[in-house]
């Protein structure tokens, strides 16, 4: 069974080559393309919301109030369940985890294929609500309102989330088993690339968290159709139970969307700083700390939800503690840049100015919200919107974009267009700050989230308009991103195996990699980021045939 035997067989059809594939790289790319498609739909909904908020009065852009409520529901649900979570865990996770640990594929390639198609099905179910009636329940779907809401919206939403949840669990199991069992010889846990560390921790969070969400939304369906009374106060139920279940998943879900992003940052910085990552163990173990503590902070979403204020204090404490491992990472990345040889490629700009610069703002905003008395004022206002968009858009999204540019040569075999890439970066960077920074003020001044109407006094209308124009710039940046990808695919230079001089295993094979990644079994002899002046001739993480 040599390479010659397959060379003569005819080229497989598109269906067999892509749709039926069990190759982790192709599944990863399909996830990525699908996620970007959903990103555009979720983004369009955001632009509708922002356009409506150009003026303070009754809805004039959307035909009626319900439509506005549906828009923010679709925006949140799509961006979280169909873009950020699958993009970071499934698209990057599938592509990178096996090849980074020196495996030929995931542990369960067919299950991987199933997870992708469940994801696609969940996406179609979500999209079908544009036709059958959109949910207007917010992405949180709090009962009793969600149970009483009219039309098919909630039912479709629950169905979609369930399917995506199963897909997510299957993907998580696959990653865990792959990392534990498929590592190449010599790839010890202390030599794992930091993205793999983050991916493994994230997979555990998905595995433990998702069932709580599934339980919560199933009870919504039961209450709505089968006459149960989980959340019906008049029959002795309690609407707050849902909030506990929901946030028991959905706060860890925030870390599902942040930890892999931090992993991407940790991959890119040492390569372009030409320095070993500062504090490898501190970064890896702080992710474990975040993953664990992430399950102990959920009620900070509920400080004013009906429990006594003092009950919030333990959750305030855990929420404060969880800021420490994040701070550790920020300082380690900064220390990696110190006395490095920093090369400003597009991915480097996205992770440094983009991720470190803006995630810091999001993280600091979180400290205000973690303090119970301040949260009394800020809860459910635009300050919260500013905070989590700085974390998820200023942070995670920048890492996603950095990752797309960084691994673009590996995935496609073409170099991306550096000039266009930098334009994309500056558009995103300026647009994101224009959109979300004014929202801090908007929230402090008294505008709740999820409203179409506000008091234009105190410069509120101007602040809202700045945010709206910022969002248009972000929209333009997204289009520019697609242009850059298309131009690079068509006319980019042919990518060498290792254009960045990186040391993780994916860069030791051709771009794009051969079907089963490694012709020869890699044997790992060193940690993944052995850059630096002390060793004149740095080598990659692998040496063959040892």
């Amino acid at each position: 069974m040599g390479a010659t035997a397959t060379a003569e067989t005819k080229k497989p059809s598109f269906v067999r080559d892509w749709l039926l594939t069990v190759d982790h790289k192709k599944i990863g790319i399909m996830y990525g393309v699908a996620c970007l498609f959903f990103f555009f739909i979720g983004g369009a909904a955001a632009l509708v919301i922002r356009t409506e908020l150009l003026t303070p009065g009754m809805p004039d852009v959307v035909p009626q109030a319900d439509m506005f409520n549906q828009m923010f529901t679709m925006h949140g649900s799509i961006m979280i369940f169909l873009f950020m979570i699958p993009m970071l865990t499934a698209a990057f996770g599938n592509y990178l985890v096996p090849i980074m640990i020196g495996a030929h594929d995931m542990a369960f390639p067919r299950m991987n294929n199933l997870a992708f198609w469940l994801f696609a099905l969940g996406g179609v179910v979500f999209l079908s609500s544009f036709y059958f009636g959109m949910p207007d329940i917010g992405w949180t779907a709090y009962p009793p309102y969600s149970i009483q809401s009219q039309g098919l919206g909630l039912d479709i939403w629950v169905l979609g989330v369930h399917i995506l949840g199963i897909s997510s669990i299957l993907g998580a199991i696959n990653i865990i088993v792959t990392v534990f069992n498929m590592r190449a010889p010599g790839m010890t846990f202390n030599r794992l690339p930091l993205y793999v560390w983050s991916s493994l921790i994230t997979a555990f969070i998905q595995l433990f968290g998702t069932p709580a969400l599934a339980g919560a939304i199933t009870t919504l369906l039961f209450d709505r159709h089968f006459g149960t009374h989980f959340y019906d106060a008049s029959a002795g139920g309690d609407p707050m139970l849902y909030q506990h279940l929901f946030w028991f998943y959905s706060h860890p879900a925030v870390y599902i969307m942040v930890i892999p992003a931090m992993g991407i940052v940790s991959e890119i910085i040492p390569v372009f700083a030409r320095k070993p990552i500062f504090g490898y163990h501190a970064i890896a173990y702080s992710s474990i700390a975040i993953g664990f503590l992430g399950f102990l902070v959920w009620a900070h979403h509920m400080f004013v939800a009906g429990m006594p204020l003092a009950t919030g204090i333990p959750f305030m404490v855990t929420s404060m503690i969880i800021a420490v491992p994040s701070a550790i990472k920020i300082f380690n990345w900064l220390a990696t840049l110190w006395r490095g040889s920093n090369w400003f490629t597009t991915p480097m700009l996205f992770v440094t100015l983009g991720f470190i610069g803006m995630f810091t703002i999001g993280g600091l905003g979180g400290i205000f919200l973690a303090a119970v008395p301040v949260d009394m004022h800020m809860h459910d206002t635009y300050f919260v919107v500013a905070h989590f968009h700085y974390v998820l858009f200023g942070g995670s999204m920048m890492a996603v974009l950095a990752g797309i540019f960084y691994w673009f040569p590996k995935m496609t075999g073409r170099m991306y267009n550096e000039k266009l890439g930098k334009i994309v970066f500056w558009m995103y960077f300026i647009g994101t700050n224009l959109t979300f920074f004014p929202m801090h003020y908007i929230g402090m001044m008294g505008m709740p989230r999820r409203v179409f109407q506000y008091d234009p006094a105190n410069g509120m209308q101007i602040a809202n308009q700045i945010a709206t124009f910022g969002s248009y710039l972000v929209g333009a940046a997204a289009v520019m991103m697609v242009v850059t990808i298309v131009v690079s695919l068509r006319s980019g230079a042919k990518a060498p195996a290792n254009p960045w001089g990186a040391q993780t295993l994916e860069w030791t094979v051709s771009s794009p990699p051969p079907e089963h990644n490694f012709i020869e079994m890699p044997y790992v002899t060193a940690p993944p980021y052995e850059f630096g002046e002390a060793e004149e001739n740095y080598t990659s993480q692998k040496s063959f045939g040892a």
Partner: protein, 311 residues
């Protein structure tokens, strides 16, 4: 420097305390923000790559530094945590001599029930010099009772009573906002807080909630004031626009098509019936009846008078 313009006016002691905690955290955050962004910027520029093959130094880490940037943030957060916890206990416990007002959230209005036994809608009048305790609940779904000027917010949860209190406040008119998404007209679920002096408050109580707080004297007279106070205008436009319910403008005297196919004359009788028994005659294009309202027949008649004046 005075940064109080970043917030609504702080009208009670609690608001000032919350603001002080905010500024305490803000000072620390600003310091960390400047530190991180400055280091980021300096390192990027100072250590930019000068030759393509230039390497950084081979430095893998430093345990002392790791301990420093673990312990210092932890200590700062402990300080914020301690300060925050003390304040939380202080806020939670209401004083003994409080004037209790029951707050109930409905889709989409706030009802305020005073200890003297009367009720107001969307109009909360309180005396400036008393401690007031709000006991909050909801009649239907979850709302959130938020007075930005007092920095207090508590969800109104069906089947549960939450509470929050305020000490003496400053006279004036301030907004009350629903902060928890509650469906179609969540954005319009707004009420007014009116803080008055003792004399005015006594008058307000003696009149059973009618005086005090700008009862409008517009062309629509009492009916207009009622329509505003009872929350009608959250769902009904005063022109022909369709919000959640039909618009009122130019309807009086015309025929309305009903959802069962028949027609009815849009007169006082029809309006009063539609308010008192919303399910009786539903206009075409609407599937569900208006939720029941806290309106007496007298008040409904006044509202009908007001609708008569709308073009």
């Amino acid at each position: 420097m005075d940064f109080s313009w970043l917030f609504p006016p702080a009208i009670n002691d609690m608001a000032k305390q919350v603001d002080s905690l905010f500024w305490f955290i803000a000072a620390i955050s600003l310091f960390i923000f400047v530190l991180v962004e400055m280091l980021l910027f300096i390192f990027l520029v100072r250590y930019r790559r000068k030759r393509p093959d230039k390497q950084g130094i081979a430095l893998h880490g430093n345990t002392k530094m790791e301990i420093i940037w673990t312990v210092i943030p932890a200590l700062i957060l402990v300080a914020i945590g301690v300060f925050g916890s003390q304040m939380t206990y202080a806020i939670q416990t209401p004083p003994k001599d409080v004037y209790t007002i029951n707050v109930t959230g409905y889709k989409w209005r706030w009802d305020f029930e005073y200890p003297e036994g009367f009720k107001t809608t969307n109009k909360l009048v309180i005396p400036e010099d008393k401690n007031v305790l709000f006991k909050i609940t909801s009649a239907d779904i979850i709302h959130s009772f938020w007075i930005p000027a007092m920095r207090i917010k508590q969800d109104a949860v069906p089947g549960r009573q939450t509470q929050i209190w305020s000490g003496p406040t400053k006279q004036g008119e301030y907004p009350i906002v629903c902060a928890e998404y509650c469906g179609t007209m969540h954005s319009m679920m707004l009420a007014k807080l009116n803080v008055v002096n003792t004399d005015e408050f006594n008058k307000f109580v003696q009149s059973g909630g009618k005086a005090g707080g700008g009862a409008a004297g517009g062309p629509g007279g009492e009916g207009q004031a009622l329509a505003e106070q009872k929350g009608c205008l959250s769902c009904h436009a005063t022109d022909q626009n369709k919000l959640v319910g039909p618009g009122w403008g130019g309807m009086f005297g015309k025929d309305v098509k009903l959802s069962d196919g028949s027609t009815a004359k849009y007169d006082e009788k029809y309006i009063v019936e539609s308010i008192m028994d919303p399910a009786a005659k539903i206009p075409q294009g609407y599937s569900s009846p208006m939720p029941p309202q806290q309106v007496t027949e007298e008040e409904a008649k006044a509202i009908a008078e007001y609708i008569k004046t709308l073009k």
